[in-house]
């Protein structure tokens, strides 16, 4: 094939780096997708051009989502019209809202504060303004 040793060594190093990237991604992603059993379900619905939320106890919210620090939550993500993408960048929550499908993402915030929520898949006219906020509150009850 016209290879000489230098090229084989180079290709071997590249493949070794890729194997490391692949195996490490596998391990991390496996851990990331392991939803805790006690996670509370929040229904998230995207539609042009806002997010609405429904908690397990039936409380509904629009654009602003309140959750408690130290609890795990799993999002059930729906779409009413076109494709959106539910994204909380600070907590690496990112999953598409696809009409006709239900997608899942989960997180367990451990610091209180207010974080932006946004849409990360082009969904038309006001895609840029499909923003909301996440309020993580201190849980005084426990």
């Amino acid at each position: 094939m016209g290879h000489d040793t230098a090229e084989w060594v180079f290709v071997a190093i590249v493949i070794a780096v890729l194997c490391y990237v692949g195996v490490d991604s596998w391990i991390v992603q496996k851990a990331v997708e392991d939803v805790p059993a006690n996670a509370e379900v929040i229904k998230v619905t995207g539609q042009q051009w806002f997010w609405s939320f429904e908690h397990a106890d039936g409380t509904k919210e629009i654009s602003t989502l309140h959750v408690k620090k130290g609890h795990a939550y799993v999002f059930e993500i729906y779409s009413r019209d076109v494709m959106h993408s539910f994204n909380i960048p600070d907590w690496v929550v990112f999953e598409d809202a696809v009409p006709g499908h239900v997608n899942h993402a989960w997180f367990a915030p451990d610091t209180a504060g207010t974080y932006p929520i946004q849409c990360r898949e082009y969904c038309g006219l006001l895609h840029y303004n499909m923003r909301g906020s996440l309020v993580v509150e201190d849980d005084n009850a426990t």
Binding site: M1, G2, H3, A6, E7, F10, V11, V14, I15, V17, L18, V21, G22, D24, S25, W26, V28, Q29, K30, V32, E33, Q48, D81, V82, M83, S85, N87, P89, D90, V92, F94, E95, D96, V98, P99, G100, H101, V102, N103, H104, P116, Q118, C119, R120, E121, Y122, C123, G124, L125, L126, H127, Y128, N129, R131
Partner: protein, 515 residues
């Protein structure tokens, strides 16, 4: 020498010609015109994003959405593909030592479909984004723009299938009998690989476009969830065509670097065989990775792993190209004329774009970067950084052969410095912007995120530098093709050996670099 225009001909003689060099010129001029039209749109986008707050330059988001959609379509299908086809048309028949393309009339027809497709895309000015994901493109996108987009893409797709058939037949059947396929120069190999990929990939998208059209007309519901369809099916069909299409854009630029680098390094190519092997590998593996565009659509873990492996598998072959370039330059007496500067700059940016690509394909990191400005920066590093630099280098390289005159080396250097700096500043910054969480395809961003504003401004200034560099390019292309000094056609760059150029009928070294 076939390429030089000894006597200027009236333009209609070129327009109605079916000769491969004339069709090649038409493709090149067409591609360069649309490079500047798409570039103007890019300048508008970046200038608009300089400040947060609505209506900085464009007063409504509908216009902004249309502009970035047509910018993408123009750069991909009206600049990158035509320029690759143009240079392929000019050089491939010479490289395989045949008098013309296999089907000259089909070749001219394939070109003349391009202006029609371009007119549909530009007059429609759709807002679907170039990927035009269902169901937005079906149930929400305003017509007739979206329908014109479908017909325009259809025509351009048929055109690229026709020209691909022509390249494959020319290379396989019209090649000189004394020239074995493995010794065909690597640029022709790159055109051969991408033509085969086009023939395999494009019909899938053609089918998806028809399905999208009937969905829009309400006759069917393939991708419309409100009529029982599934938008994810569209994404699969789309990316099955357009991930290989990424390589279809990229490989001709790599092939052009294989033309430039050995000559300006005054050395034979390090390894023809590894170049051929890497092209074929990329051509095959390019079909194994489309799903990495869809990690976040609710894909299950196993599918994600399969597509991650398919994506990573393309990296060693890309690395072999880089190795081949560096090994060719190693120990060479390099002449850094404009084509070589652009080729070397292109390799550097190809390497950084590829490194970013590995991060994207790693599943957990993809959930940070996907759909953000990181992806915008990443794919522009390929599209401007590698493809743009390769093409511009090749245009400088062919300039004396086509016009018989020499461009100005100082202006070309200024073009290179501005374009390289601008590319790094614009698109490396956009990677950071993506890590800060800014989504792509946004008309506006909230002013309260001060880091977004700063990074956008740095990025915009870089984009202006790229714009300025291309103004220099356009001016010098026009001026020096009419008023430039006559080039020394045996050795335009003073490299020293006649056999370094494509004009040589035979390479006295008997090796890899002449044909």
């Amino acid at each position: 020498m076939v390429l030089e225009l000894q006597k200027p001909r009236p333009v209609w003689q070129i327009m109605f010609s079916t000769h491969h060099t004339d069709v090649g010129y038409l493709y090149l001029v067409f591609g360069i015109i649309f490079l500047f039209m798409g570039g103007v749109l890019a300048m508008i986008i970046r200038t608009h994003l300089f400040f947060p707050g609505q209506g900085v330059l464009i007063s409504d988001s509908a216009t902004f959405n249309r502009i970035f959609t047509v910018h993408g379509l123009t750069m991909l299908f009206l600049f990158a593909l035509p320029v690759a086809n143009g240079i392929g048309n000019i050089l491939v028949p010479i490289m395989v030592r045949y008098k013309d393309m296999a089907y000259p009339k089909l070749n001219a027809i394939a070109f003349w479909m391009n202006p029609v497709g371009a007119a549909l895309l530009w007059l429609g000015f759709a807002d679907t984004t170039w990927v035009s994901y269902a169901p937005y493109s079906i149930i929400r996108a305003p017509g007739p723009a979206a329908d014109m987009f479908i017909f325009g893409m259809k025509i351009l797709g048929v055109s690229s299938i026709l020209s691909s058939i022509n390249f494959v037949v020319t290379i396989l059947k019209c090649k000189h009998p004394d020239l074995p396929l493995r010794r065909v120069p690597l640029f022709a190999w790159s055109m051969f690989t991408v033509s085969l990929m086009t023939i395999i990939a494009m019909p899938t998208y053609a089918a998806a476009l028809i399905m999208m059209l009937t969905d829009r007309l309400g006759l069917s519901g393939f991708f419309n969830p409100f009529a029982g369809g599934d938008p994810i099916a569209y994404l699969h069909l789309f990316w099955f065509t357009f991930h290989p299409e990424v390589y279809i854009f990229l490989l001709p630029a790599i092939g052009m670097m294989y033309e430039i680098i050995p000559r300006f390094s005054r050395k034979p190519l390090y390894s023809q065989a590894s170049g051929v092997f890497a092209f074929v590998m990329l051509g095959i593996i390019g079909f194994a990775s489309w799903g990495h565009h869809m990690y976040s659509t609710g894909m299950d873990f196993t599918t994600k792993v399969v597509f991650m492996i398919g994506t990573l598998a393309a990296v060693p072959a890309s690395g072999m190209h880089v190795f081949n370039f560096l090994a060719t330059m190693w120990g060479g007496r390099i002449r850094f004329a404009a084509p070589m500067k652009f080729a070397v700059g292109g390799i550097a940016l190809f390497f950084s774009a590829g490194a970013g690509g590995v991060l994207n394909s790693a599943m957990p990191l993809d959930f940070i970067t996907h759909g953000t400005y990181w992806v915008v920066g990443h794919m522009h590093l390929f599209l401007i950084g590698t493809i743009g630099f390769g093409f511009v280098g090749m245009i400088y390289y062919m300039f004396p052969y086509v016009t018989g005159r020499m461009y100005n080396e100082k202006l070309a250097s200024a073009h290179f410095v501005l374009m390289f700096w601008g590319t790094v500043q614009t698109f490396f910054t956009q990677h950071l912007l993506g890590l800060e969480g800014m989504p792509r395809r946004v008309y506006d961003y909230p002013p309260e995120f001060s880091s977004w504003t700063t990074l956008n401004q740095i990025s915009t200034i870089g984009a202006w530098m790229i714009g300025a560099s291309f103004a220099i390019f356009l001016a010098s292309l026009i001026y020096y093709s009419a008023k430039g000094k006559p080039a020394n056609m045996d050795d335009p760059w003073g490299i020293g050996g006649k056999y370094y150029y494509p004009v040589a009928a035979k390479n006295p070294h008997g090796g890899h670099s002449g044909y």
